[in-house]
Amino acid sequence: MDLHHITAQQSPQTPDEVQTWEPGLAWLAGGTWLFSEPQPVLHTLLDMGNFNWPSLQAVEETGLEIAATCTIAQLHAFGGSTGVPASWQAFPLIQTCCESLQSSFKIWNEATVGGNLCLGLPAGALISLAVALEGTCVLWPRQDLPRSVSALEFVTGVQQTVLRPGELLRSIHLPASALRKQPAFRRFSQTQEGRSSALLIGTRCPVTAEILLTITAATVRPVQLRFATPPGARDLAASLEAAILPTAYFSDPHGTADHRRHLVHYFAPQIIEELA
């Protein structure tokens, strides 16, 4: 929609052209969220379209580097490519996660991976991907030196992230060690191609057999549990209870907190069983 409150738009060639920051500025990535609702507190859009960061860099030994500006369409297409290292067992998760978004392929043509993370929605399926595959986010603050945070730490609540004012998400690095793990995936949505009410991903390390269980969409922020050996049903339930307080379950028009909790407790054992 037309953003009536926007009075200026700038197209810097590099991020460093933007030195000072003030409320009312916003980075414009794909714009698919920014243009989808009125933005009464913004006045200036800073276009990221000229940064020309290489979208995807895959190296068998180190892993996958995804630029924040990589579009979901590019990532999805890459997820279907055949030339990836055979050892990357978790690779199919890329397409599965893209397809877990409510948005259509037309939106993927513009929407970016970074935009999905920075928006910090519980149903951000690329957040699920980044967290499950133990990603690291590289952040470019306005005033300081670049820093990194784990994808698990990046989103702190519903539409809340660790980003400071003006700070950019530059890239997400998925380590090869995580890409080599065996994946298991469960998702529930009230509509067939709709928004996730719960999205759970498990991975199993081929070396240590450790299982990592990542819970998203059902909770206000991603939750990750680590099991050296497959837990029994009771231990698993207890771990879930301990890790996710009742208030940490998310409630919105796409699902209630109690149903989401129920789904998490239903899917988690299935994932453990599949990976055990």
Binding site: S11, G31, D47, S104, N109, E110, Q143, Y266
Partner: protein
């Protein structure tokens, strides 16, 4: 990783691109444009006249705005306009490179008629025709960003897969054939002009309103100074600028007395979140929106009530305090808009006689119409001083009457018209935008336009009434009904609108379809501080049919009977008098009877083993259910339509009729009726519709009247004209009239063809006008029948419901256009399924709608709907035109109870309150230790 970032360079001024002109090509045409910062590509394209680019949501959810940027399909409402620099944009208008030819996908949409109102069509074609679009599978994933509210998607799927449904026309025998809509070619090429698709007139003012943030409040003060400072703002209006002594109702009916006069154009009392407070008129939408932000309103917040039962209690806040008899509110001091009590026979005695009594309370929820075209209208004065209003309405003539009343106008000075309207479903049987456009045009002399946002559609139009229905049924051991009673409480929201009529209608057919000597009901339509409810496909019957048909299944299960058998035992039979809770019959008659056949068809289909395979996991339980419904053909209130048919100089015809076309297909059928009588191809009949200057009066296209009343008028007029033509031809050729017949553009008189053009020329010379005008009424009225059946699987743990099979049988009398009729059935079924399984409009404790977007309020997408098997009964109605009965409104009615009955059969649990979403089902399912009885066969 990030080598030597320097933060020292200031932002170069070259990076500023505010309103800098840029080049792009649109459909091959180079253009220089200067987008506003924050502008999206959608509005930029429309500003340059590419009106094939629609707005359904403006938020990326519906796909109506889909265009290609360098061959990549995008939602243009999300695409920053400045990014189109140096790009090649293709809109629907440019899809076919050569003039006059169609892109294959456009041709396919025509061949399958993959549309009804056609508002979604351009975007769907642009998606399906795109590279990487249709080529990808599955189709429902490709189209998940394209919503259609009319079709139920089967026709769209067929179009994309290249199936053909349109038949050849047979001149003089087109009735009964599947002919395409006369507007089809314009729809698939993006040339069809919907309401907003008009270039702005000079001096155009755009309207926006400040809406109430409170459910109940008194406006104390309004400060507009800051808003008036916003550049481009022309004027601001408040309650002080509109007559406070002229209340009206936004609902439209031929007889306005049936609805309450409880509304003011701008009021001092706010009765729901979303009510208009202040009106701003400005040179641009942007200026109007920014000005709205700057208006300060002081409110005294009043206690609010959202539940109708609570609203009837003595201590409840009163919404329409002190309104007198002129408002036609039954009991303003109790918040009761309308109260209806009726008893036929003796219900107490009937329950005494019963061996078995079942009683339960069912609740239905609010449903918004979600027409893809939002409400909008525009008005202007012509140099001769006449006022012209174009609107997205189902009732242009009634809208005119309403505006005449509100503004004290001479009727001849006002012209109201619609052209193509993007969906109605009852939601456009209201005056919601036109009044303020006219206010601004009259006060300022300037043209005015008001286009609702999608959010306003949810928060400030109308919805299906939420109902609470307590049903009690008594029967003998053999299943014979002895008594039926119900108590109905409806939530009409802050304003009455259709509330009284909806209540009245709801108390009729759900009971009248069963033979039972004792019937009784108490009904209350109650004001609350919710968004107003209004007319919606089914008009109250959908809700009571849900309750009664669920209760019938509960009765069957108590009696140990097969549900269909219980219905067969009690349902009305040909020749029966149709009686509900009133002892005296009305004007309803069984003009044709296909109910039993419909029931047989659905039962047979459910037993056929067709449909999706039953999930094998024990976590799924499966079941089946059905329900029936009867709908009166036309409203009980006055309804009339007049058609005028002229023979034109070239030997073709023009039909002028006031009914509006918004996807229900009445135009197509009316044309077929005329062509059949006049012995010509449909191509020879030009239709002029819904224009108070150009067509005779029509009450409006609602309550299933497009075919019945409009078609009836066309039929009558065509017969008269035919008679005239044959008589003259016989005289001119000297052949006996019996040997004369109309044949295309000539009259064939015993093999002496007399061209109609010649006949006309001669007749005119003699002073004859070859034109006929006839009027039709919706009385007496016949009844249409619908039966729906489902087989479902329910996941015992997650609560997910999967439809395995969906079957619908309809008694539409003689089916005048099978393809179109099937489409209407499928559309109604889709709305029914959406209502039950998905569409959950949530209210916050403050009375605000929590999900007023298509992102968070999900109407069914293609992936969410099964393909429904559709059957028609073989009947011929003795009342309807050419044996036909209407079939656009009724199919929705049996869907909800059939689905609820199937879920009850699968789970062994009766869920009484809609919607039946997974979060609402799973707790009860989870607490049910034993497996449900699966052995109740349905046939």
């Amino acid at each position: 990783m990030v080598p030597g970032l320097s933060y020292s360079r200031p932002l170069s001024s070259a990076a500023l691109s505010r309103n800098r002109p840029m080049q792009l090509t649109i459909n091959g045409n180079p253009a220089e444009v200067a987008p506003r910062p924050g502008q999206c590509l959608r509005t930029l394209l429309r500003e340059h006249g590419w009106y094939g680019v629609k707005k359904g949501c403006d938020a990326g959810d519906c796909g109506a705005c889909t265009v290609w940027v360098d061959d990549n399909p995008v939602h243009s409402c999300l695409y920053p306009a400045f990014r189109a620099k140096d790009r090649h944009i293709t809109t629907i208008e440019g899809l076919s490179p050569e003039n006059g030819t169609l892109h294959p996908m456009q041709a396919q949409f025509l061949a399958a008629q993959g549309f009804q109102c056609g508002f979604c069509t351009a975007g769907t074609i642009m998606t399906a025709a795109a590279k990487g679009g249709a080529m990808r599978t599955p189709m429902e994933r490709v189209l998940k960003g394209n919503l259609c509210r009319c079709t139920g998607y089967r026709a769209i799927r067929d179009a994309i897969e290249g199936r053909r449904h349109v038949q050849e026309d047979l001149p003089g025998a087109s009735v009964g054939r599947s002919l395409g809509s006369p507007l089809g070619p314009a729809l698939v090429t993006g040339q069809a002009r919907f309401t907003a698709d008009e270039p702005p007139l000079p001096g155009l003012l755009h309207l926006k309103v400040v809406r109430s943030p409170h459910a109940h409040a008194q406006v104390l003060a309004i400060r507009k100074e800051a808003a008036l400072e916003v550049p481009g703002v022309h004027s601001i209006f408040t309650w002080e600028d509109v007559p406070q002594h002229r209340p009206f109702t936004s609902a439209t009916h031929d007889d306005y007395h049936v609805d309450p006069d409880d509304t003011l154009m701008l009021d001092r009392v706010m009765r729901f979140v979303g009510q208009r407070v202040v009106l701003v008129a400005a040179d641009s939408e942007q200026a109007a929106a920014l000005a709205c932000d700057k208006i300060e309103v002081d409110y005294e917040i009043l206690p609010a009530v959202f539940d109708p039962e609570e609203a009837m209690r003595p201590d409840a806040p009163i919404l329409h305090h002190g309104k007198d008899a002129a408002s036609r509110i039954s009991h303003p001091e109790r918040n009761v808009l309308r109260e209806i009590h009726g008893e036929n026979g003796n219900v107490a005695a009937g329950f005494e006689e019963a061996d078995v009594i079942v009683e339960n309370t069912y609740a239905t929820h609010r449903q918004p119409h979600v027409t893809l075209e939002t409400h909008n209208s525009h008005s202007h004065l012509s140099p001769d001083g006449r006022l012209h209003v174009r609107t997205s309405s189902q009732t242009p003539f009634l809208t005119k009457v309403k505006l005449v009343y509100l503004f004290n106008l001479y009727p001849e000075n006002l012209h109201v018209y619609t052209e193509r309207v993007g969906g109605g479903f009852g939601g456009k049987q209201e005056v919601l935008t036109e009044d303020l456009c006219v206010l601004v045009t009259l006060k300022t002399g300037r043209p005015a336009r008001w286009e609702f946002t999608r959010e306003e559609e949810f928060t400030a139009t109308t919805t299906r009434h939420p109902f609470r229905v307590k049903v009690k049924l008594g029967a003998r051991r053999d299943g014979t009904l002895t008594a039926m009673s119900m108590r109905v409480v409806t939530n009409t929201g802050a304003y009455g609108n259709h509330g009284g009529e909806v209540l009245g209608h709801s108390l009729n057919e759900a009971f009248a379809v069963y033979r039972c000597p004792n019937k009784q009901a108490d009904g209350y339509a109650v004001y609350t501080n919710c968004v107003p409810a209004g007319a919606f496909r089914g008009y109250g019957l959908t809700q009571t049919a849900y309750a009664v048909e669920c209760a019938m299944d509960e009765l069957a299960s108590t009696l140990g009977m097969v549900p269909a058998a219980l219905r067969r035992k009690n349902m009305i039979q040909p020749g029966d008098t149709l009686l509900s809770i009133w002892p005296h019959p009305g004007d309803l008659e069984i003009g044709s009877y296909g109910l039993a056949e419909c029931l047989d068809l659905v039962e047979a289909a459910l037993a056929s083993g067709r449909g999706e395979p039953v999930p094998q996991s024990p976590e799924w339980c499966t079941g089946q259910g059905l329900a029936l419904a009867m709908l009166d053909c036309g409203p009980p209130t006055e309804h009339r339509s007049e058609a005028r048919i002229d023979l034109l100089a070239n030997g073709s015809y023009q039909v002028a009729i006031g009914s509006a076309e918004f996807g229900s297909g009445s135009l197509t059928v009316q044309r077929q009726i005329a062509a059949t009588v006049l012995g010509c191809p449909v191509e020879s009949v030009k239709m002029v519709t819904a224009d108070t200057d150009k067509t005779p009066y029509d009450t409006g296209t609602f309550a299933s009247t497009g075919t019945l009343v409009g078609g009836g008028a066309v039929l009558a007029a065509a017969k008269v004209l035919k008679e005239q033509l044959l008589r003259l031809a016989s005289r001119y050729t000297g052949q006996p009239i019996d040997s004369c017949q109309l044949s295309g553009a000539a009259v064939d008189c015993a093999n002496h063809p007399l061209p109609l053009s010649e006949l006309l020329a001669r007749a005119e010379k003699e002073g004859h006008r070859l034109s006929a005008v006839r009027r039709a009424y919706a009385a007496p009225r016949s009844v249409a029948f619908n039966v729906h059946g489902f087989r479902v699987a329910v996941h015992r743990i997650t609560g997910q419901v999967r439809i395995l099979q969906s079957v619908h049988a309809a008694d539409a009398g003689q089916v005048l256009n099978p393809m179109q009729c099937r489409g209407q059935v499928e559309g109604g079924v889709a709305q029914g399924i959406g209502w039950v399984l998905r569409e959950d409009m949530q209210l916050t404790p403050e009375g605000r709608i929590a999900n007023p977007t298509l992102r968070h309020f999900r109407i069914p997408a293609m992936a969410d709907l099964p393909e429904t098997e559709v059957y028609f009964a073989h009947t011929h109605d003795r009342i309807g035109p050419m044996g036909a009965k209407p079939m656009s409104e009724s199919p929705v009615n049996p869907v909800a109870p059939a689905l609820a009955n199937a879920i009850a059969n699968a789970t062994g649990i009766r869920f009484t309150d809609l919607p039946l979403t997974a979060p609402r089902l799973y707790p009860t399912l989870a607490h049910r230790p034993t497996l449900p009885a699966q052995d109740i066969a349905l046939s």
